[in-house]
């Protein structure tokens, strides 16, 4: 059984530790990468961490005309093959949750890869609002 990424917004305190953990884990060049997770404020003392849902019928995969996106069955996440991507932004425009992203600094397209089986955001979340189990 593959593990599941679980989000419990009620426990989120908006500390943004997940963002930092994500950026530092995804260091493509010399600088930290763009975070793939966003704890967004939705009201007084209320946050919802938004990240890729690794959809069953993913719009990003369907939109990619060069097959740079595919389901990694083993680890249960949608993988972006950087060497294949020609940065057409179709997936960025198509994802209904806004979770395929442009990393302007590195000039690449990025998305959550669940840290290939050990998501840093969940490891560092102090309140267990994010868990991978």
């Amino acid at each position: 059984m593959t593990k599941r990424f679980m989000v419990r917004p009620a426990l989120c305190i908006g500390c943004r530790t997940c963002e930092l953990a994500c950026s530092l884990t995804h260091q493509e060049g010399k600088t930290p990468g763009r975070t793939r997770i966003y704890p967004l404020a939705v009201g007084k003392e209320k946050w919802v961490p938004v990240a890729c849902l690794q959809c069953d019928d993913p719009a990003c995969v369907k939109s990619c005309l060069v097959d740079a996106l595919r389901m990694n069955e083993e680890l249960g996440y949608i993988e972006l093959l950087q060497e294949r991507c020609i940065k057409c932004r179709a997936c960025v425009a198509a994802c209904p949750f806004g979770c395929s992203l442009i990393d302007e600094e590195q000039e690449i397209i990025v998305k959550c890869d669940l840290c290939e089986g050990n998501p840093a955001c969940a490891r560092f979340c102090p309140t267990k609002a994010l868990e991978y189990k």
Partner: protein, 263 residues
Amino acid sequence: MKIQINGRWYKAREGEMVLDVLRREGIEVPALCAHEAVEPYGACRLCMVEITHEDWGGWKGNVTSCLYPVEDKLIVQTHTEDVIELRKMVLNLLLARCPNTPEIQKLAEEYGIDITDFVPREDADDCIMCGLCTRVCTQMGFNAISVAGRGYDREVATPLKEAPPDCVGCLACVNICPTNHIKYQDVGTTREIWGRQFELVKCKECGKALITREFADYLIKNRDIPADYFDVCDDCKRAGTAKNFKKLVHWEEKEEAEEEVSV
């Protein structure tokens, strides 16, 4: 399976090319016409390597690594004298074709060539005729550009050199070109490429633009993506996702969780 490169063994996968292994392992070999998004083509001839095998009775040969499939116990040398000479020859010619192109100048310099021995092309542009742009455009299903003309006058062009009817303005060709030959311009929400103008889809909420209307329409029609997915940009969609989740969350969970901790 395993292949040997410059004396060390590396894992290789059935069906891949020698160049795929070289790139994965970070072994530096120039390769200007190969990109994972398209099928290999063997046009630039820079990726030449020497190959041999213990079963080949001493036979050795030079091949384009982007087109040569791996086989178990293949022995590869990436920098033999012969191979370096071949690359120098190619670079010498490329530098005559594109004397003012920084990417080519730099690569030639790495191989000790400052000026070409051949007559540099007059009014030279930056196209090295690698065919990546036309191949990626075909791969994406648009087929908007192709190589026109013969010999010296060959160039990448649109049909009849007019604004290409099949282009959707996706910029795949711009992004894949190794020498930045293909130019485009975004002014406000208008994109111009190959002499044609496109309108970019503007986010209904904030106005941010990501792709052209034509590209979005293609994806809606051919890739079964609901049209309204393209109405809003990624930033506003994340915000919308948060708002939608807000309605589903049992916010009391927080107090319950805290109570549990304090017990």
